[in-house]
Structures are given as structure tokens and as C-alpha cells.
């Protein structure tokens, strides 16, 4: 991890590093990201992530104003939504392992601590041809990177923050020319008992958030080995245990008693053979997740478990210097058990995919296609086309993709006294188009894209007769604009960078196939039309300062866009001050963070307040001893 004292804007260096040292770095997942041509992409540089090492991946992205996240506040289930897409429309991939739950199709990002992840790449727009079912709104790729011949490193991170929030993490790594080991462990606990003004009370009054704590701990173990000059292998094992108190809305008279426990194992083993023009890889992974939700008030005790096994064989060929082709076959066997699901449903999914990248002078073209068989049914064919023209500082780009999402186990098989799944659901199906431009100048860069996406057969649950049941009842049209720009402002020994982001998202019900005609043409709820971020980063010697403001536009909370229920727009301003220190093999940095600087009242959703002004103090310590070379 780049230390701030080494330069706050290490992003370019880092990227350059990984390119130059490609032979030194083993990327254990496939490099499918590089085929995502013609899409708007976000990257989170290591210094930004390092600043936010104590939280979850969604905390990092939310504070940096990247993407849109839906949650009920601090801690607890958080899902990403790109371009107005639904909670199950973002594919989250950890070292090639798909993390979406087969039960609900979602990935809870609050369960992914930033400490365990080396880098995060986010790409907006649908890319099912590369990532498979569910990648309709965007894809989030999370990686660990094994670096050989780095010697010994030890790291600790200790943070304390407002409302009884404590983070402790330790990491140890050792690598020589042949072996690379890394271990990480963390523990987070938070009471989250912040004060807020309850505007639902009459008259409004100050209260303290009740039943809002959480605790998480986990370990990640990684080992990689170079078997010989062209073969390598690696394993990763991740275990985590998470306890959340699930609070009520502050408009509810009762204090909640509901709790949720998520316990999971994720493991992946890879083998690679790298020949000069041919690369083969095999990946096996296993995911098991236990979710235990209890609410004594409603006598709910819902225990569910899912498990998936995934085998992937992939081949990458370089043809001349102009074509690179990746082809693979992947098989997923997923199963689940839940109190509300009869039997133990399982399904076998096999997909064939191929992606071709063709670089002819300034024109880069990618073509991808995926066909999947779920059980004995074929999903719709998902092709993709991407174009980029590298014309000096300007890179115009374009992409067209077809995407799908297969129904989840809950959608298909749920069965309790009040709700029944629907076995005749069809996959959601979308076409997405995008066109944009990237500008790269010496001191500034910008990126802008317009997008258009039509998702048909959108699955929603609604009451039908005596039961709730899901149906393919919406066609949703999303269109809009994403843009970002950054400019470097060097001034003597002070380096500064100003970054701006803005997105416009219009996501409306274009067709409704049930009886809710009053929702026709209306913006989807919890989908702001306008979002923006302004961020200033300044570095002077060993001191770095970062200030950012994120704007979240008005959000409707109901299907008819009722103004009375709409959530007001808000701006949250956060600031960080860091001092870095280095001595021989030792380095340390101290971070002071202030969130919601102006104590703005904001809600994650109606009745779920976000904390007011709050603080964090953190120390990251690192010892490195390179190998004698």
C-alpha cells in the first residue's frame, strides 16, 4: 500500500507499477476488466482507500461519492445501484468470485471490509457477456494482489471513531521469488448511538439512536506459489462473522429487537500456465453463507444458508500483436436452504463465454458473447460490443450490450404463510448503450458518457390475492449522463488536485404490466436524478489534506413520485488530515477525519437518520524488510 508520505497521488505510479511489473504480480482473477471497452469507469486510488481503511467498501465509495448506495443507515444491508438499476443489478466480483447471493441476487457491501481488499475497480453499465447474470447496472471488481519478492511486511491499523466505533486490523506478508503469503485479520465494533433530531415526533425532539450497533470480524489468508517458470498457483480463504442490530425507523414507537447475523466462508484456488502467446487458467471457488435474521416482536426467526461451487477454465490467446482473445467455460452449482423455502433447491449453471479485443492502430474493438444454461434452460444470448478510438488526448468510446438476470431462489421458491415464489418467472432482459469521451491532458483529465438502458421483465413482488408474489411486471427505462473531471494544481511544494463528479439519472417505469398505472413514467424510488461530488486534495511534504462534498439529489420514496414523501436533497462534507512518517523500515501515518462537517441532517431513507458531525482518529503502522536482492 502506498504510503501518503510517498506522494498522495500515487495512482498513476501504481498503475504504471502494475503494468511494468506484470511478471511480478499475479492477478489471480481473470483480466476480463480489460475487455470492458467503451464503458465509463471509476478507479479508487490506493491513497483514497488507505484513508478509509476502517470501513466497508460501500463506506469508501459513498464517502468518495462514487455510485449510489441504498441502505438503512450506518451498518446493515447496503446495496449498490448504478444508473438507476435495482439492488440485484450490480455484479460484485472478488478475485473472480461472484458474490451475489443466489437467494436474493444481492451483494451486501457492508460485509466487505476495505481492509481486506487491495484494489477496487468500478465500471458502470451492463456487461453480462463478461460477468454473467446480474451485471445490468454495473460491475464492481475487488482484488487482492500477490507481489513476489517483497520480503517481510507487517501492518497494523487502529482506529477509534465517534459513537463507540473501533477498528483494529493486522496484516502480515512474506514473499520471496517463489512464495508469497499474506494474512489479514480485522475486528470492527460500533455502537452507532448517535444523536439526531426526531422530526417525526410531535413536537420534534432530540433522541439517541437505539438498537443500532454492529460487530464484525474476519480473516483473509492468501498463499501464492510459482511452480516453475510458467506455472503458478494460489489459494485464498476468507472467513467473516457479522452481527447487526436492525433498528426501526425513528417514526416507529417501539425500539426494534431485530438482529441479523451473517457468517460466511469464501475460498478460491487458482492455477495458471503462462506461455508466450497462450495463457491457461483454472479457478475453483466455494462460497457458503449463513444468514440468521430474528425479530422477537413479529416472532420471526428466519435462517437461510446458501452455498455455491464454481469451476472456471479460461484461455487467453494473443494473436499477433493486435488480437487478444479470452474464452472460458464456467460452471456454478448453487444451492440453498431456508425455513421459507421448501426442500433444498439447487441449480446448475454452465456458461460459455468469449471476448475478443482487437487493437488496430488507434481503434480498439472488443466483442464479447455469453451463453448460459441454467438447469436445462438457455438464458438469452448476451453479446457486447465496445469501441474506443485513442486519438491523442481524446478517447471517444461507445458500447452496446445485451444483459440478463436470472430469477433468484427467493423469487422462484419462497413459500410461507404470506408470500409465494413464482416458478414461471422469466429472466430480466436489457439492452444498454453508452457513448462518451475521455480526455487526458497533462494537468487535467475528464470523462463523460451518456447512457441509455431498457430493462424488460423487471421482477417485483406485489400482493396477488392472499399472497405476495413476484412477477415480471415492469419495463424500466434508464438514461442519463455521467461525468467526472480532475485537475492538478501544483504550487511550489504544495500539490493539489480538484476532482468533480456529476451524474444525471432518469430511470422511469416505461411499462407496467400490473395494475399500478399511476406509476407509469415515474422515476424509480430511492434513485436521485442528480448526484455530484467535489473533492480537493492537497499535499505538502508529509501532510495531506482532503476535503470533499457529496450532493445527493431529491429521492422519491414511492411509486407515484409523491412530493410529500420525497427525501430532500442534501450535501455531506467530509474532511481528512493525514500526517505520514517514515524511518528506515518503519512507516506510520496518522489520520484525523471529520464526517458531516456541518452536521447536516440527512436520512438513508425516511425515518433512518445518518449521523451528524462525527470524528475518527486512526494510526496505521507498517514495517517492511525487503529481501536481500
Amino acid at each position: 500500500m502506498a504510503l501518503l508520505a510517498n506522494g498522495a497521488f500515487a495512482q498513476q505510479e501504481q498503475v504504471a507499477d502494475s503494468v511494468i511489473q506484470l511478471s511480478e504480480v499475479i492477478v489471480s482473477s481473470s483480466r476480463l476488466e480489460s475487455y470492458a471497452t467503451g464503458h465509463f469507469a471509476y478507479s479508487i486510488d490506493s491513497t483514497q482507500k488507505q484513508l478509509l481503511i476502517n470501513g466497508s467498501v460501500s463506506d469508501v465509495l459513498r464517502k468518495l461519492g462514487i455510485g449510489h448506495f441504498r441502505s438503512y443507515g450506518v451498518g446493515g444491508v447496503t446495496t449498490a445501484s448504478f444508473r438507476g438499476s435495482g439492488a440485484s443489478h450490480t455484479s460484485v466480483v472478488w478475485n473472480g468470485v461472484t458474490l451475489q447471493s443466489p437467494l436474493n441476487g444481492q451483494t451486501d457491501l457492508s460485509l466487505i471490509p476495505a481492509f481486506l481488499i487491495d484494489d477496487i475497480t468500478i465500471q458502470a453499465g451492463g456487461t453480462v457477456s463478461l460477468y454473467g447474470s446480474g451485471a445490468i447496472g454495473g460491475t464492481m471488481s475487488l482484488h487482492s494482489r500477490a507481489k513476489f519478492n517483497e520480503g517481510l511486511s507487517l501492518q497494523s491499523a487502529n482506529h477509534v471513531a465517534s459513537f463507540g466505533n473501533y477498528f483494529n486490523g493486522i496484516a502480515a506478508g512474506y514473499s520471496n521469488e517463489r512464495w508469497c503469503f499474506a494474512s489479514k485479520a480485522f475486528h470492527i465494533s460500533a455502537r452507532n448511538d448517535f444523536e439526531y433530531r426526531n422530526k417525526y415526533a410531535v413536537p420534534s425532539k432530540n433522541e439517541t439512536r437505539q438498537h443500532n450497533s454492529f460487530e464484525q470480524w474476519g480473516i483473509l489468508q492468501e498463499a501464492d506459489v510459482r511452480l516453475n517458470h510458467d506455472q503458478s498457483a494460489g489459494i485464498k480463504f476468507w472467513y467473516q462473522d457479522n452481527h447487526f442490530e436492525v433498528p426501526n425507523s425513528i417514526a416507529v414507537a417501539r425500539t426494534s429487537q431485530a438482529t441479523q447475523r451473517d457468517q460466511f466462508y469464501r475460498s478460491v484456488a487458482t492455477w495458471r500456465l503462462d506461455k508466450s502467446h497462450n495463457h491457461f487458467s483454472y479457478r475453483f471457488n466455494h462460497v457458503a453463507h449463513l444468514l440468521d435474521y430474528r425479530d422477537p416482536y413479529t416472532s420471526t426467526s428466519s435462517l437461510s444458508r446458501f452455498e455455491s461451487f464454481n469451476n472456471t477454465l479460461e484461455h487467453v490467446a494473443s494473436i499477433g500483436n493486435v488480437i487478444e482473445a479470452t474464452s472460458g467455460i464456467t460452471n456454478i452449482h448453487e444451492s440453498s436452504t431456508a425455513v421459507e423455502i421448501a426442500g433444498k433447491p439447487s441449480r446448475n449453471r454452465t456458461a460459455l463465454y468469449t471476448a475478443w479485443m482487437y487493437q488496430l492502430k488507434k481503434l480498439k474493438t472488443t466483442l464479447g458473447i455469453r451463453e448460459e444454461i441454467v438447469g436445462n434452460e438457455f438464458t438469452p444470448v448476451a453479446p457486447s460490443l465496445g469501441l474506443e478510438i485513442h486519438a491523442g488526448a481524446l478517447t471517444p468510446f461507445l458500447s452496446v450490450t445485451r444483459n440478463y438476470r436470472i430469477p433468484t431462489f427467493n423469487d422462484l421458491y419462497w413459500n410461507d404463510a404470506g408470500a409465494h415464489g413464482n416458478k414461471s418467472l422469466k429472466p430480466e432482459l436489457s439492452w444498454s448503450e453508452e457513448a462518451g469521451i475521455r480526455i487526458h491532458r497533462k494537468f487535467w483529465q475528464a470523462q463523460m458518457a451518456a447512457f441509455n438502458s431498457l430493462v424488460d421483465n423487471w421482477i417485483l413482488w406485489s400482493p396477488q390475492g392472499n399472497f405476495w408474489t413476484p412477477g415480471n411486471i415492469r419495463q424500466v427505462w434508464s438514461r442519463g449522463l455521467e461525468s467526472n473531471a480532475s485537475i492538478q494544481l501544483p504550487l511550489g511544494s504544495i500539490t493539489s488536485e480538484l476532482s468533480l463528479r456529476y451524474s444525471y439519472t432518469r430511470a422511469t417505469n416505461r411499462r407496467v404490466y400490473d395494475n399500478s398505472n399511476s406509476e407509469l413514467g415515474k422515476q424509480l424510488f430511492f434513485t436521485p436524478q442528480h448526484e455530484g461530488t467535489a473533492m480537493l486534495r492537497t499535499q505538502w511534504r508529509r501532510v495531506a489534506w482532503m476535503l470533499n462534498g457529496t450532493y445527493t439529489g431529491k429521492q422519491y420514496t414511492d411509486g407515484s413520485n409523491n412530493e410529500y414523501f420525497a427525501m430532500k436533497p442534501y450535501v455531506l462534507v467530509n474532511s481528512w488530515l493525514t500526517y505520514g512518517f517514515m524511518h528506515k523500515h518503519y512507516s506510520a501515518d496518522f489520520t484525523f477525519e471529520c464526517n458531516n462537517l456541518f452536521g447536516q441532517y440527512a436520512e438513508a431513507r425516511p425515518g433512518y437518520p445518518l449521523p451528524g458531525r462525527n470524528f475518527r482518529l486512526g494510526i496505521n503502522f507498517r514495517f517492511t524488510k525487503p529481501n536481500q536482492k
Binding site: K199, Y200, V202, N248, A251, V252, A253, R254, Y297, T298, E340, A342, N415, A417, I439, R441, K442, F443, W444, A446, L460, S462, P463, G465, N466, F467, S483, A485, I487, L489, P490, L498, L500, R501, Y502, D514, N515, S516, S518, E519, F525, Q529, G532, A534, Y551, G553, K554, T557, D558, G559, S560, N562, E563, Y564, F565, A566, P569, R605, P606, G607
Partner: protein, 362 residues
């Protein structure tokens, strides 16, 4: 520093984009139909989403105005509005999950008071006298049912009467208050009789399991709609052995059950409403995804539904006997009221708030 003019312009444009997208707030206050003759529609909202609301149907204009509470009082109504009752110029809106009763002026919808003290999970209001009201409450566990006695002058809770499990709908008959113990999250099978002069339960009448709604007919009989009790097998099919079906009981002035109309085979769609026309001789109820009607002199339950469509709630307009059926296509978007004539013919439909569950008349 090689910042040229073009770059500066680009940055400026992006800056202005970022800071100029404060969207215009076009929430104008709707024109409120003051004093008009009509009725209120209670929109329950999505559980936990704080989007309950009140609508008003103007009979003369044949027009619905939504969000009348928010428009007048500039604050949300709360979470899970269960019922509303008009009494002596005030509307008492019982907001269950918010644990409160919002009291508003029936004519101009302005807030009079918010009653919260001691309310846990309130369900219905009943005006007992011009100085006393009762609010039934399921209790914090959904089992410890009580009636909170409200002083209608101070609008404060003055005492609590222990009644049974899940105390629900109440009705005043012969100077006695009858309260249905719906079981709440459990099981009960009694209608309590309370003497409002002493605020004490004087007697219980045993009826079918989990009575939810009460009506009085033209001859003074009490009618009790009971949901029945559902027990489930591990696969959530109905455990018929340990379940009871819905039923309707007819009880005479001596508090004796005269007849019980019982559905012998329990279904998921239990009786959830019981309404009566202004002549007091025809009852309407929701059962198994349809509306049924039952005349007060009937001997058997009707074989066929009156309206074969699933509704979330019904009310009968005491003005013209039209049946107002409340439709909730989901719990996140607007519902509808369908107005039927007493013959079952659809007269009109109006968009209302989220999950309408019933009406209050003035």
C-alpha cells in the same frame, strides 16, 4: 502550469453542472376542500416506511384530494395508519406503528393534538361521550391488549383497561362498549363488554377465534367478524387440525350468541372487515380475496361473492350505501378506491395514497 483557456472553460462547465442542479421544488399545497361533504380515506402506507396518509373524497365534486394531513400540517402522518374515526368535529387517526393518535379538525384538517402517552400499538378510536374516548391497543408484544381511556378535553390518556389479547375494533351499544379481542399476534376468542361509567370489563362473550370487527344491526343485534386462527405446518401450509376458520357471530341484546356462520375449512384469506349498510340489514365483509354480503336475516353464509375481487379494505358510505372498496396493488405506490353501488355495479375509481384500508365518514 499549462492551463489553457479551453481547459478552464471545461472545468467551469463541470463546476457549474455540479452546483446548479438543485432541482426546483414544485410541491404546491393542494386546494383543500374545506367543510365539504365527503369522507376520509385512510392510507396505511408501507410498514416501516412512514408514508401513511389521509385522502379526502368530496362527494359534490366527485374528487379525491390526497395528502391532506401533510398539506395542512407540514409534517408526515407517520407509520401504518390503521384507522380513522370522526367524532364531534374531530378526526382521530390511529397510527399504529408510530404509537400515536393524530387528532385533527374534521373541517380544515389542522392538527389539534397528537396523543402518544403510553400508546404502544394502537388500533381503533371510539368516542364514548363528549368527554371520553377509548383507544384499543395491542401492546408492545402484540398480545397484551388494552383500552386507553382518553380525556377528550385534555386529549391525554387517563387510565388503562386490561381487556385481552390484541384488543381491536370497538363499538358502543346500549351504553356499553363492546371490544373485539382479535388475538393480536396470538389467539383470543372473546368480545369484552366494558361499562364506560366505571371503565371496567363487566363481561366477556365467547365467539369464533380472533374477532376483529363489530357492527350493530337495525334490530340491535351485535355482529362479530372473526378471522379465525391459523396454525401452519413446517411447510407453511395450513395445519387444519390446529386451525379454526373465519366466522361471523350474531349476538342478541342479552349478549347471547344466536347464530355463528362458520367457514369450516380455514383459508389464508381470513375475514378482515365487517361493514353494515345504513338500513342496518346488510353486512359486507372481505373473505378469501373477495367481498361478500350477508343479510341480517340469513341462515347460511353466501355461496358466491358479492364482488369477486381482492381488496385491502372496505367501507359502506352511510350517505348513499355505496360500497367503497380499497385496492392496494402494492405497498410502495398509490392505491385506488373503487366505488360500487349497492347492487355491486362499479360507479367510479380514484387514485388515493399507499395501501388504503378504509374510510371515515363525517
Amino acid at each position: 502550469m499549462s492551463l489553457n483557456f479551453r481547459s478552464l472553460i471545461s472545468v467551469c462547465i463541470l463546476c457549474s453542472l455540479l452546483f446548479c442542479f438543485q432541482s426546483c421544488d414544485n410541491s404546491q399545497e393542494p386546494e383543500l376542500p374545506r367543510g365539504a361533504t365527503g369522507f376520509f380515506i385512510v392510507n396505511e402506507g408501507g410498514f416501516g416506511n412512514n408514508n401513511s396518509s389521509l385522502s379526502f373524497f368530496d362527494r359534490g365534486l366527485q374528487k379525491v384530494t390526497n395528502n391532506i394531513f401533510e398539506a395542512k400540517n407540514a409534517r408526515p402522518l407517520g407509520d401504518q395508519a390503521q384507522s380513522a374515526t370522526e367524532f364531534e368535529g374531530r378526526l382521530y387517526v390511529v397510527v399504529q406503528n408510530s404509537g400515536k393518535v393524530e387528532v385533527i379538525n374534521s373541517d380544515d384538517f389542522s392538527s389539534v393534538a397528537t396523543i402518544t402517552d403510553g400508546l404502544q400499538s394502537p388500533r381503533y378510536f371510539l368516542g364514548v361521550s363528549s368527554t371520553k374516548g377509548y383507544v384499543s391497543d395491542w401492546g408492545s408484544d402484540g398480545l397484551t391488549g388494552t383500552i386507553k381511556v382518553i380525556d377528550l378535553n385534555s386529549l391525554k390518556v387517563t387510565s388503562t383497561i386490561a381487556v385481552g389479547k390484541g384488543t381491536n375494533h370497538m363499538i358502543l351499544k346500549d351504553n356499553k362498549v363492546y371490544a373485539a379481542n382479535s388475538g393480536g399476534f396470538g389467539r383470543d376468542n372473546r368480545v369484552a363488554i366494558i361499562d364506560p361509567s366505571t371503565d371496567k370489563v363487566s363481561q366477556y362473550i365467547t365467539v369464533g377465534d380472533n374477532p376483529v370487527k363489530l357492527q350493530v344491526d337495525a334490530t340491535g343485534n351485535l355482529w362479530v367478524g372473526s378471522a379465525g386462527f391459523l396454525a401452519f405446518n413446517p411447510d407453511f401450509s395450513i395445519d387444519t387440525k390446529n386451525s379454526t376458520g373465519s366466522s361471523i357471530s350474531k349476538i342478541n341484546s342479552e349478549n347471547k350468541e344466536l347464530i355463528r356462520f362458520s367457514y369450516l375449512v380455514p383459508t389464508y384469506g381470513t375475514i378482515s372487515a365487517l361493514e353494515i349498510n345504513k338500513g342496518g340489514n346488510t353486512l359486507y365483509y372481505i373473505y378469501d380475496n373477495a367481498i361478500y354480503s350477508l343479510t341480517t336475516d340469513a341462515n347460511v353464509v353466501p355461496a358466491r361473492p358479492f364482488i369477486a375481487k381482492g381488496y385491502y379494505g372496505i367501507s359502506v358510505d352511510p350517505f348513499d350505501d355505496s360500497i367503497i372498496a380499497c385496492y392496494a396493488p402494492n405497498f410502495s405506490g398509490p392505491g385506488k378506491i373503487d366505488i360500487y353501488n349497492p347492487g355491486g355495479g362499479l360507479l367510479s375509481s380514484f387514485d388515493v395514497g399507499i395501501a388504503p384500508n378504509g374510510c371515515a365518514f363525517r
